[in-house]
Subunit: 149 residues, 2 copies
Amino acid sequence: MPIKLEDIRTRLHAKDYKLTPQRQLIVKVFSENPNEHLSAEDVYGLVKEEHPEIGLATVYRTLDLLAQLDILRVMNFGDGRSRYELTDIDDHHHHHLICLQCGTVAEFNDDLLESLEAVVQKRNGFKVQNHQLKMYGICKECQSKENEK
Amino acid sequence: MPIKLEDIRTRLHAKDYKLTPQRQLIVKVFSENPNEHLSAEDVYGLVKEEHPEIGLATVYRTLDLLAQLDILRVMNFGDGRSRYELTDIDDHHHHHLICLQCGTVAEFNDDLLESLEAVVQKRNGFKVQNHQLKMYGICKECQSKENEK
DNA sequence: GTACATGCAAATTCTTTGCAACCCA
DNA sequence: TGGGTTGCAAAGAATTTGCATGTAC
């Protein structure tokens, strides 16, 4: 289910931030590109199509703000730039498979880690708020290509 | 158990790389700082104590090389710089707890993910080589500080 | 009206690269 | 000896910041 604009407006106003057209557009770009892992530059390019005068700095500032409000999640797949995606409701069960050959990032879901959070909480006294799991390896496509040789 | 220098020499020579004093020193720094998550700048500072004429570029090149040889593991905790640690034998069971308040990174071990790798392998046709799990939350120390208020 | 936002350009920070001198095997 | 390696300085890439102007509420 998509994030509602009014919900975002409310969350912004709660901290005296404003819902500007730029911010709306950036959220829209994420809604229209689900399952992508957009970088600041990616977002900049996409927003520019509709609103050419936007500045890259605004994109950076907005991504930062939306991540603080937990509307976006920041990620890092080792290519030297931050990547963002909408925080979905099922977030805790949503992980990433990163292909070491072609760099593609796929998603997978599993709730196995729920129980692990409880263990860590008890054993280390660490109050877990969130987690990220990445698995590195070779994707199905690259495996087939390898076999063709 | 510490990594043996001879082992590293062998792994380098296997690919026609040389074991230079700089490379030795960098490995030494990691051996002497277990459980740390050193950035390039950190390593540079530490190596400089013994070998002041080393260049930062050499540090970057060496970290990169050692990571390719799987002697070091690269990580990213969201502070804008890559961090490295020695790849240990128990690597697959070794994960990170990142405090959102003070930024401290602690370690914890668990082998729960072993079985998950097999599931992903079968379900997604993805050949897993490695994985990284990070849990974000509030560490024990910051929780106590919070309670004192 | 006013405090927050924006766009632009300059500044920072992290990392990479070119190249001549150097040195491990 | 010779091809990998180093240190230095310059280049590059991602991100941040200062500031005058603009705007949501």
